[in-house]
């Protein structure tokens, strides 16, 4: 743990000296905030919480990208090789990735939350405990998925390709950009197997104040289990050197990190819980005159 903390501090300093990090981690999330909350929820304080859920989700999810790129860069440049000669283990290296990301993303989440509350006049505070739990588990689960991406890709090109695919899945199918209830029925069914859907839906529930921590139990459990599995798998597949290629079967093993979401997807398909909640959260921000209401059970 001591090694992980030392690495965390150094990695935070390195990140803060990196202009690209400042742009992608601070300015882009704030841009999202003004786009989603400023434009989509204008003049409607009731909708601010719902739109803020999208912004916070994008901030939390986006961390998987930077983390995988950084680890692959370190590996390709031969930086990780030097650490291998020391008593530092793969676990400490990976934990420092997650911890430094958490400590640097948390202030941005807090700024977004504060701007939504005080500049865009969000109604109430939402369920603070639920928000904290989802943000925290989201900021461990998604970076851990990023670590898996770094583990199963051999080159930066491969890493970026997988990141692009995942990002578009997360962006379009989670409800973060296009609300889940207005997606075609079959896409809503697919979305139930996408990890990001649970983060977005959970945050919508707690930020609109429509539910507390008990209402988001399955989401929290899935994110927690996913963190554990993804961390364990990436530790097993961790490579210190670019020359060590990942075995083909390891890529299948890496998919095991998605098992919690596959199980949850199956459960949700039979229960229809998330889709109903998402619909109710969505309807709560629609003007009363709006008659074109999507039907969750169609």
């Amino acid at each position: 743990m001591k090694h992980a903390w030392t690495l965390t501090k150094v990695r935070m300093r390195l990140a803060l000296r990196n202009r690209a990090f400042i742009i992608f981690s601070l300015f882009i999330p704030l841009l999202f905030l003004f786009l989603f909350v400023g434009l989509l929820a204008h003049d409607d304080p009731a909708a601010v919480g719902y739109r803020l859920a999208s912004v916070l989700s994008l901030t939390v999810m986006g961390s998987f990208w930077g983390l995988s790129v950084q680890l692959v860069t370190f590996r390709e440049q031969g930086i990780l090789r030097r650490f291998r000669l020391t008593p530092v283990g793969a676990g400490a290296m990976l934990a420092s990735s997650i911890l430094s990301n958490y400590l640097m993303t948390l202030p941005i989440v807090l700024i977004e939350f504060a701007v939504a509350r005080f500049v865009f006049h969000m109604q109430g505070w939402g369920n603070l405990l639920g928000i904290a739990a989802l943000v925290t588990l989201g900021m461990t689960a998604f970076p851990a998925l990023g670590l898996i991406v770094a583990s199963v890709t051999n080159t930066m090109q491969e890493t970026q390709l997988i990141n692009q695919l995942l990002w578009w899945f997360f962006l379009l199918l989670s409800g973060a950009t296009v609300p889940l209830p207005i997606l075609p029925d079959w896409l809503q069914s697919v979305a139930l197997f996408v990890p990001a859907t649970y983060l977005v839906a959970g945050l919508q529930t707690v930020l609109t104040g429509r539910g507390g921590i008990t209402a988001i139990g399955p989401e929290l459990l899935a994110l927690a289990v996913s963190t554990g599995v993804a961390f364990f798998v990436s530790q097993q597949l961790f490579r210190w050197e670019a020359e060590t290629k990942v075995p083909r079967r390891a890529k299948l093993w890496a998919a095991s990190a998605l098992i919690p979401f596959i199980l949850l997807g199956i459960w949700e398909t039979s229960r229809n819980r998330l889709r109903s909640t998402a619909l109710m959260d969505y309807m709560s921000i629609q003007p009363q005159s709006d008659t074109a209401r999507p039907d969750a059970n169609k």
Binding site: G78, I79, T86
Partner: protein
């Protein structure tokens, strides 16, 4: 004799179709500077990386400080220091940050301020890694390797790619470590480095140790073949020079006749007489005592940098 600090027996390693090591054996005593000398691709780095615990061997036995490098994990890492063939650190890490970070990884570590001073990096302590020259980066790599007061130091081509002045600086540091009794395993393809720094040398070629001993012992193998390099006013046929007394071989390149002799004074007297008879003149004459390069050439038929 006490048990060696590094013991290697019949080490083998294969990468795909390439057999990198074909039964390497040697041992290093405590306080000794041992060199693995050979051309690129000879198997030096593979040997060192197995001993550092960075990759497993396919066969044979390796022991460092009485531990198996592959299975001992961090226990061995506390005891060794290493300079890799290419050390890379993040561009934006400061010199003092890097050294302090590496120091914190070990249970026992040296004062990093003193190390910076000793390696002439005190003024650069706030500099980013990307702002350092090649020599400064290598001095930092050496400081990082020594930060845990290692019992054994592995130096993999520590001066490769550095200019001669920086190379001499690094030699001075290694000589200082040698005087302090640090056990060092050094790989190099520079003859001068092996001759100047190593107590004993193993010559490695195609994944095998083809000779080992002190530089003096190894050169003694070629003692019967001192090289005389001569330039003549008018070139002579190699076959004619080969007939001179005590000459064991002749070859010529670019107008220089290289004559190998088992009795230098007799060969020179015979040469002068021969040239007089031929009405030829000597433009220059150099006597080169055998070097490890000659030993390598004799053993493999190739030059080290072929």
């Amino acid at each position: 004799m006490t048990s060696p600090i590094i013991a290697v027996e019949n080490l083998t390693k294969r990468y795909g179709d390439t057999q990198a090591l074909r039964g390497v054996s040697f041992s290093v005593q405590e306080g000794e500077v041992f060199g693995l000398l050979g051309p690129n691709g000879a198997g030096k780095t593979s040997t060192v990386e197995i001993l550092e615990g960075m990759r497993p061997a396919d066969g044979g036995r390796a022991e460092v400080c009485g531990l198996d490098p592959h299975s001992s994990g961090s226990e061995l890492k506390e005891l060794i220091g290493a300079v890799l063939q290419f050390t890379a650190l993040p561009d934006k890490i400061r010199v003092s940050e890097a050294l302090n970070m590496f120091a914190s990884f070990y249970r026992r570590h040296r004062d990093t301020g003193q190390l910076l001073q000793r390696f002439g990096l005190e003024e650069k302590r706030r500099a980013f890694y990307s702002q350092l020259s090649g020599g400064q980066k290598q001095r930092l790599a050496l400081a990082m390797a020594l930060v845990n007061q290692p019992r054994v130091l592995f130096l993999d081509e520590p001066t490769a790619g550095l200019d001669p002045q920086v190379r001499r600086e690094i030699y001075a540091i290694i000589e200082e470590l040698k005087a302090a009794g640090t056990s060092i395993l050094l790989t190099t393809h520079y003859i001068e480095e092996a001759e100047r720094l190593c107590d004993r040398v193993a010559i490695v070629d195609h994944g095998q140790v083809i000779a080992q001993g002190t530089p003096r012992e190894l050169k003694h193998r070629s003692a019967g073949k001192t090289r005389i390099e001569i330039r003549l006013a008018r070139p002579e046929a190699d076959s004619a020079l080969a007939q001179l007394e005590a000459v064991s071989g002749v070859h010529s390149t670019d107008g220089v006749h290289v004559v190998h002799s088992t009795g230098v004074p007799r060969t020179i007297v015979a040469l002068v007489k021969y040239l007089e008879a031929q009405n030829n003149e000597l433009s220059s004459l150099e006597i080169a005592t055998p070097s490890l390069e000659d030993v390598f050439l004799e053993l493999t038929g190739r030059r080290l940098r072929d």
